[in-house]
Each structure stands twice: as structure tokens, then as C-alpha cells.
């Protein structure tokens, strides 16, 4: 006959086994997540923007800053991720991947707010894959500063800075 005191102990053991199994499952999933992240960090941005559509998990994974940093660090040391900015006489600017042994492909323009026609522009600086662009628009020649990510072709307008002379 079971001693009454044994029962809670047995229940604890059974629960313990379940917890261990559950933990193993979580560990396995974490491992897969880490490996998937490793593989994805080697992909071009175009593929990643598309793969956000795979599932909620992939969308969250690809959008998180940790992944972006990992991807950036990988791209920084990889020649096939090099980009070239193309400057054109007609006052347009494009970004192209710079494959070492191929013709230029994958040339993309900048997505900028469509407020009037582009009149002139200049690149102020590039840092960590982002470009600071100053744009004058036609016809009123109003000026705006854009922060442009050539890889995603996204840009944001920076609030007009007022510098003291």
C-alpha cells in the first residue's frame, strides 16, 4: 500500500519529467531559431523583405533590431553586398549592387515623397549603409533632408534643421 506521503513526491517526479521534456522542446526551438537567423543574415535585403511574408515568426525575426545588426555585420564583411551609388546627369540617383564579376543589375531609385519635381540634390554623407541626402524640389526650390537606406530604398524626411550661423 502506498504511503500517503509518497504520492506528492511521485506527482512531482512526473511533473518534473514533463518539465524537462518541455524544456528540451524549447531548447530545440531556440536552436532552430538561432540557425534560421544565421542563414537569413546571409540573404540580400530583397529576399528578406519578401520572406517577411512567410509567417508571423519570420516577420518578427526579420524586423527586430538584433537581426538587422547581425545582417549588417555580415554584409559589411562581404564583397557581394557592396553597393554603388549612381549619379546621373538628369538629377536622379540610384543604387546598384556591385557584383565583382557581373554587369550592373538590380538598379533601384530612391523612394522619396512626391512633392514636386526634383530640382537638385547632393549627398552629404554615408554611414553604416545609410545616406544623408539634401534635396531641392521644383518649382518652389524648397529644401529637405532625407535619410535614405539604399538597400530597402526607404527614406525618411528629417525635420528641417536650423543651424545657427
Amino acid at each position: 500500500m502506498w504511503n500517503k506521503n509518497v504520492l506528492p513526491y511521485l506527482q512531482f517526479l512526473i511533473a518534473g519529467k514533463k518539465v524537462v521534456k518541455h524544456l528540451e522542446k524549447i531548447k530545440q526551438m531556440d536552436l532552430q531559431e538561432e540557425i534560421i537567423m544565421d542563414i537569413l543574415s546571409r540573404l540580400p535585403v530583397q529576399s528578406l523583405l519578401r520572406f517577411k511574408c512567410v509567417s508571423k515568426f519570420w516577420m518578427t525575426l526579420i524586423s527586430q533590431p538584433y537581426f538587422t545588426t547581425k545582417h549588417f555585420n555580415h554584409a559589411k564583411h562581404n564583397q557581394s553586398f557592396e553597393k554603388m551609388l549612381l549619379l546621373n546627369k538628369e538629377y536622379s540617383f540610384h543604387c546598384s549592387s556591385l557584383p565583382p564579376d557581373q554587369l550592373f543589375e538590380d538598379v533601384r531609385g530612391i523612394n522619396r515623397p512626391r512633392s514636386g519635381k526634383l530640382w537638385c540634390w547632393n549627398i552629404h554623407c554615408c554611414y553604416d549603409g545609410l545616406v544623408l541626402v539634401g534635396v531641392h524640389n521644383y518649382p518652389d526650390k524648397d529644401f529637405m533632408l532625407l535619410l535614405w537606406n539604399p538597400s530597402t530604398i526607404e527614406s525618411v524626411v528629417l525635420s528641417n534643421p536650423k543651424f545657427s550661423q
Partner: protein, 159 residues
């Protein structure tokens, strides 16, 4: 010689010089924990055979540069990753567990190269992922970057 045992109870003998490319086993040997058979509960024999094949070929990687066998090794690597998708993923998991950096690099890069131009549908099928996004959420992602979903290079085949 070091003995490795797969999770389906098959034993394999590998030269120590080859097996120490695995950081995990190298540490075990250094700590004196590899006197008998090393059980590998996460790796089946089919995958372990592939991993050992890689370790044996890469045994003298340092020497390859001196003797001009680099091209030979490159050719072997290209042939080595020419395997089914699931098999490749098993080797990645094993390389990760055994901590074999070069093998991990090789296989993850091969997986990335295969996924690069795949369509969303093909990726879901290859990795057995169920789509849990609503149609609206999907459309929103497409609208954010429609150019990422266009182009003749996008490949809908599963392999």
C-alpha cells in the same frame, strides 16, 4: 582513434587529427572525457557519416594551401553540399552541436544560396512552416516593398 556513437547506436572510428576540428570533441579530449565511446544523442548515423566524410577531407586544411590542393578542397565542398534540403539541415544541426565552424559556414551559406531567390510559398514548403498571417497582414508587407516580390528570378520550385 576516437570512437563516436550515433543516436541509432552505430559506432564510428575517426582519427583524432580529423575529429578535433569539432571544438566540442576537442574540449572533451583535452579534459580527458573521451577515453571510451563518445555518444552523440542528437545525430543519426546517416548525418554522422556525412560529417565524418567532411572531417576526413579537411584533415590537413592548413597543408592544402601549401601543396596547392585548395582547388581540390573547393571542389569537394561544392560536391559535399549537393544534397537534399532536409539532409543539409540535419548536417547544419550536427555541425552546430559539434561546433565545427567551417562546416557550419559552408552549409549555412549553401542554405542561404538556395533560399535567396525562392518564392514565399516555396520557402514555407521547404521549411514546413504554416502561414499564420492574415491576408491583410500579408498584403501590407507586400505593399511596403512590392519590388521585393517581382522579378523573373523568383523561383517557386521546392528543392
Amino acid at each position: 582513434m576516437v570512437k563516436l556513437k550515433s543516436n541509432d547506436d552505430k559506432e564510428f572510428e575517426v582519427e583524432e587529427a580529423a575529429v578535433i576540428q569539432s571544438e566540442m570533441i576537442k574540449n572533451m579530449i583535452e579534459d580527458g572525457c573521451a577515453t571510451s565511446v563518445i555518444p552523440l544523442p542528437n545525430i543519426d548515423s546517416k548525418t554522422l557519416i556525412k560529417v565524418i566524410e567532411y572531417l576526413n577531407k579537411h584533415i590537413n586544411m592548413g597543408k592544402a594551401a601549401e601543396t596547392g590542393e585548395e582547388d581540390d578542397l573547393k571542389e569537394f565542398d561544392e560536391q559535399f553540399v549537393n544534397m537534399g534540403w532536409e539532409e543539409l539541415f540535419d548536417v547544419i544541426m550536427a555541425a552546430n552541436y559539434l561546433n565545427i565552424h567551417e562546416l557550419m559556414e559552408l552549409c549555412c551559406q549553401s542554405a542561404a544560396d538556395r533560399l535567396k531567390n525562392k518564392s514565399v510559398r516555396a520557402v514555407r514548403e521547404m521549411l514546413k512552416i504554416t502561414n499564420d498571417l492574415t491576408e491583410e497582414e500579408e498584403q501590407e508587407i507586400i505593399n511596403d516593398a512590392p519590388w521585393a516580390f517581382e522579378g523573373p528570378e523568383i523561383d517557386d520550385t521546392v528543392n
